[in-house]
Structures are given as C-alpha cells and as structure tokens.
C-alpha cells in the first residue's frame, strides 16, 4: 500500500542521519547477502544501518539503529529492503533499492563492493508496507490527525448492534468507523481532514472532511468514492438546493445524485444494466453516505426535521452514472455547461424512478408524443410548471433519436411542444376534481414543466424498451434548484 498515510505524516518524520544510510531487515535474503558489504561500508566510516526487525543485524554496533516502531521506514516511504540512500539535512537526496553493485558503487563512491556477490539481486518488501501492519502503522503515525470523539464499544456489546443503538444507522448495517478505516478513507482525497466541507442542515453543523470520511466508511464506500461524496455534500448544502427544505417536506423526495465524467469509470460506477437498482457498490454507497452525513452530522432524521409522510426509497440514497459513451447526444453535464473532461455530480431533489413504457414506437415523433403523455402525470396531471423531471433514457429508446438524427435540443423542443396544457382542463374544480391550478390560468396554454425543467440522462442496458422518469420536488426559490458541481479530488 504505497502512499498510505503519507500526506499527513510528512511533518512529523524523524530526520535520517546524514550520509549513507541502508534500511534492511534480517528476514530478507538479499539483505543477508549484502551484510558483508554493509559491514565493509561501516568500517570505512561511511554508513548508518537502520534495521527493521533484528536489532543486531547485520551487527551489534553503534552504527546500527533499530527502527523498532518503523517510524523511519514509514515516514521516509521505504517500500523495499535493502534501500541504500544518501541523506542530507535528514531527508533522502539519492536512493537505490535492492542490490546492484553498479548502483551501490555509484551512490557510495566506492569501487569494488561485494566482489563475491552476484551483480544484482532484487530486494524484499519493507515491513512498513506489510499489509498486515499498515493499518496499525497508519493509526500509530496518523491517528492523532483525527479529531473526532472516540467512542469505545464495550467488549460485551456487539459492534454492529451498538451502532444501531446509538442511532447512527439508516436502518441497514453500517461499517464500524475505526481509526484505521477512516485514515484509509481519507487517502481518497487530497483535502485535509480538518477542512470544512459544508454547514450541514438541519442542525447547521460545520462538517469536516473527516466527518464525511467517517460516514463514508459507515456507508460502505471505498476511498476513491470520497471525492464524489464530498462534492455531493457541498452541492446538497448550497442555498439553492435547500437540503433543509427537502428534509422537512412531507413529500416523498430525497437528494438524487447523477455522476458524469471520467470518475465514473475510475471508481467503477454503473451506468448500464440495472443502473437505478442494486448490485454496484459505488452506486449503492455514495448516495447513502451523503444521507448518513445529513442524518448523523446534520441531525436530519425521520420524525425529527424529516417529516416525509411516506418517504421514498430515494431517501436511502439514490446515485447513478450516465452512459455518456453510448449516447447519441452530448452528456448531461455538458448540457449543463461543463467540460466533458470534467467529473461532476448533479444533485436533484426527486422521488423514486417510475417507468416510461413504450415498446412499439419506431419513429422519434411517436416516442416523443408518448413520453409527453406519460410525463403529464409528473406529480399530478393538474400541476403545471412547479416540478421538474429527470428522464433516464434507455439505449433502445435513444436509438430512435440517433437513427433520425435528433439532438438533445430537438428532442426537448418537440417534447415541450407536446406538453402545452390547456389551463381550463386543469384548474381546480374542472372535471369535478377539486385539486388543480388557480382560476386565472383558465384562458392560458401553459407548459407542463418550468423552463429547463426536463433533464435527460442516458443509461441502462442495451435490451429493453423501457426508460424511467424521476419526478422532482417543488422547484425554484420556494423549493430546490438542481445543482451541478465539478468534483475536486
């Protein structure tokens, strides 16, 4: 695990003795092989040996230092033994790993080293990168960087039950956020643990990168997902997105995350088969991590500030990626003004996905008209211009537009045209239904969706004439505005 804990530990590195230094362990055949060379160099007054295991290897001598807690090896990023280096002012300025007579002679400036040895032998792994020790070492050398309160779970308590009992879970098991796991999670970002990410509602708590990492561990994230979670939290806690309102509303809506750009592939997100369903770790845990931060750091729990009448599976954490490569159009993030090389996360306040069924349309005109009919029921067919939608268009539906040469603008233009609604048909009382728009719209033709209120994301498997639509919460100043942010790692 090279690089583990590194960024955070450099400032506390113990200085190396100046001059030639060899880092070795007895449990390495190459180190044993070069032991006579080490003794030779030391006899010439040129060498300090730092031994990782046996304090008397290669000799019981004043020039041998025992790296008993592996502090030298850890802080100076030693990955291989033997490592021969030249240090100046306590830091390495020249390094060679393993045994190579040429390299050792060049580095030491001494000819004829180890004449009986082979020319070259590879080294072994340093104890400081032994997978069985790295967790312990990370806690030893970097744990103090973490400032969160330590909570001890007693020996007679079950770790998992104890976390439920403390109210830290959304109802599913959470991974115990031990120091080692949190330090490993923090390797996923370049940001310092004490950086403030956002002020999280409803309790308005300043949330550090460390707190995000803790909750990401609990949600089951891998470290490489952390930048997405951090950016999602930043987006959720903007004034425009209004996370407090989304929590407090009685409507069944949650923060839905849509990921674009190269990071989708780098962290293995699913934009294909079952992208809105279960089975992909990144999709399943990133949205959950955001919701755990809202719950644990922000204090937003059902029955508290969260007042959803029925809630929705989207409140557990819904996150998916766009299939950009398979789309006939520009990406969703490009349509929102971002560079295709940028990785972004978009946060949309939405219900659960619902089916857009069409197995027979072979022309883009037919499919678009049918989409329009189905989308009229977004929230309610009698509600106009208040709720947005995200259409998750499947590859087979996208093919209708690809074949006909329709781009995103053409599709949205045609779709909007089919979604102009006769006000008289949806005012309160029309058709004997009391719910509806105010009387003054009776003479108007109004669009179903607000301007820029139809978002299209491409995704799904290559078989199946089914798309989905995700209905939004109230948009604009009184509700939540969809927010896209570039992911900074």
């Amino acid at each position: 695990m090279p690089g583990y804990g590194r960024a955070m530990s450099e400032s506390t590195a113990p200085p190396l003795p100046d001059g030639l230094v060899a880092i070795v362990k007895r449990d390495c055949p190459t180190c044993v092989l070069v032991a006579p060379v080490l003794v030779d160099l030391a006899a010439r007054g040129h060498l300090t040996v730092i031994t990782q295991d046996d304090p008397e290897f290669p000799a019981k001598a004043s020039w041998v230092i025992h790296d008993h807690d592996l502090a030298f090896s850890w802080h100076h990023d030693i990955e291989t033994v033997p490592t021969l280096l030249r240090a100046d002012n306590g830091v390495p300025i020249e390094t060679t790993v393993g045994w190579s007579r040429d390299d050792w002679e060049a580095l030491s400036g001494i000819e004829g080293l180890g004449p009986d040895l082979p020319d070259w032998r590879p080294g072994c792994g340093s104890l400081s990168v032994d997978p069985n020790r790295t967790d312990e070492l990370a806690v030893r050398f970097s744990g103090s960087k973490l400032t969160s309160r330590r909570v001890e779970i007693a020996a007679l308590e079950d770790d998992w039950e104890a976390m439920f009992d403390r109210g830290w879970s959304d109802g599913m098991p959470v991974v115990p956020p031990t120091e080692a796991r949190v330090l490993r999670m923090l390797e996923g970002t370049s940001r310092a643990p004490d950086d403030i990410v956002a002020v999280v509602p409803p309790d308005l708590v300043a949330c550090t990168v460390e707190k995000v990492a803790i909750n990401a561990v609990m949600a089951g994230c891998k470290p490489e997902y952390l930048p997405v979670v951090i950016t999602a939290l930043e987006a959720a806690c903007t004034d425009e997105f209004n996370m407090h309102g989304l929590l407090a509303t009685t409507m069944p809506v949650g923060p839905i995350l849509i990921v674009n750009g190269p990071i989708r592939h780098e962290i293995g997100m699913n934009s294909g088969l079952n992208l809105l369903g279960q089975g992909n770790r990144a999709n399943s845990t990133i949205g959950r991590a955001l919701q755990l931060v809202i719950r644990n750091v922000g204090g937003g729990k059902p029955g508290g500030i969260d007042r959803a009448t029925q809630g929705s599976p989207s409140k557990i954490g819904l996150c998916f990626a766009e299939d950009e490569e398979g789309s006939a159009w520009d990406s969703f993030a490009q349509a929102r003004g971002f560079d295709p090389a940028a990785s972004t996360v978009t946060i949309f306040p939405g219900e659960g996905p619902r089916l857009l069924f069409d197995q027979k349309s072979r022309s883009p005109e037919s499919l678009t008209k049918h989409f329009a009919q189905m989308l009229r029921t977004n929230a309610s067919p009698r509600m106009l211009m208040q709720f947005e939608t995200v259409i998750v268009m499947s590859p087979e539906h996208m093919n209708r537009y690809r074949d006909a040469g329709w781009d995103r603008a053409r599709f949205l233009d045609e779709l909007t045209g089919h979604l102009m609604i006769d006000g008289a048909s949806v005012i309160a009382g029309a058709g004997g239904i009391e719910e509806g728009m105010p009387e003054f719209v009776a003479e108007m033709q109004l669009p179903k969706f607000p301007p820029d209120g139809i978002h299209v994301v491409h995704g799904g498997s290559h078989a199946g004439l089914f798309s989905s639509a995700i209905s939004g919460w109230v948009t604009g100043d009184i509700g939540s505005v969809t927010v896209t942010k570039e992911i900074v790692r």
């Binding site: 973490l146 969160s148 309160r149 330590r150 909570v151 001890e152 779970i153 007693a154 020996a155 007679l156 770790d159 976390m163 830290w168 115990p176 956020p177 031990t178 120091e179 949190v182 999280v200 309790d203 708590v205 949330c207 460390e210 707190k211 803790i214 909750n215 609990m218 755990l292 644990n296 750091v297 922000g298 204090g299």
Partner: protein, 91 residues
C-alpha cells in the same frame, strides 16, 4: 473492545443519559430482576416487603441464567412496565 470515531455533529454527550432519579417511590412500579443466582430470591423477597411498605408496586422478573445478559424481550418488558428497576446480585 472496539474504538470507533463519532460520526455525529457531537452536539450530544457520548454516553446516554440516565433517566432522572425519582423523588419518591410512592405509586411507582419497581421491577425486581432476579439474575437467578441461588438465594437471590430471599434477598428480593425482603426488598419487595420494604418497597411495598413505601407505597411502591413491585413486579418480579428473573433472567433465565446468570451467565448471560438478560434477553432483549425481558429488558423491553421491564422498560415498558416499570418506572424503576433493581437488579439483585446475590451469591
């Protein structure tokens, strides 16, 4: 023992607060939990007498075995049916 990092905003104390101590036992229901060690019942019989004399109602419970924690159902039953509980350790 596992040490974990607090995932919350740390606005609340780490340990769960105890229920406030009652001013008086008069009219309250006190649970007596016998952990099933021998002769614990003798001790609890006497405690029951004293509590009843103070005006408390007494409910008796016992654990199936003293070697294991009280079952969840039993703890729940005590929690919902009693105002206070005394656990008897006897030997």
């Amino acid at each position: 023992m596992t040490t974990v990092l607090d995932p919350t905003g740390e606005l609340r104390p780490e340990t769960r607060e105890r229920v406030a101590r009652p001013e008086s036992l008069d009219g309250l229901t006190v649970g007596l939990l016998d952990i099933s060690k021998p002769r614990g019942n003798v001790f609890l019989d006497r405690v029951e007498e004293r509590l009843t004399g103070l005006g408390a109602k007494v409910k008796r419970f016992s654990k199936p075995t003293f070697t294991k924690p009280a079952p969840v159902d039993l703890r729940h039953e005590i929690a919902i049916s009693c105002d206070a509980v005394i656990e008897a350790l006897a030997d």
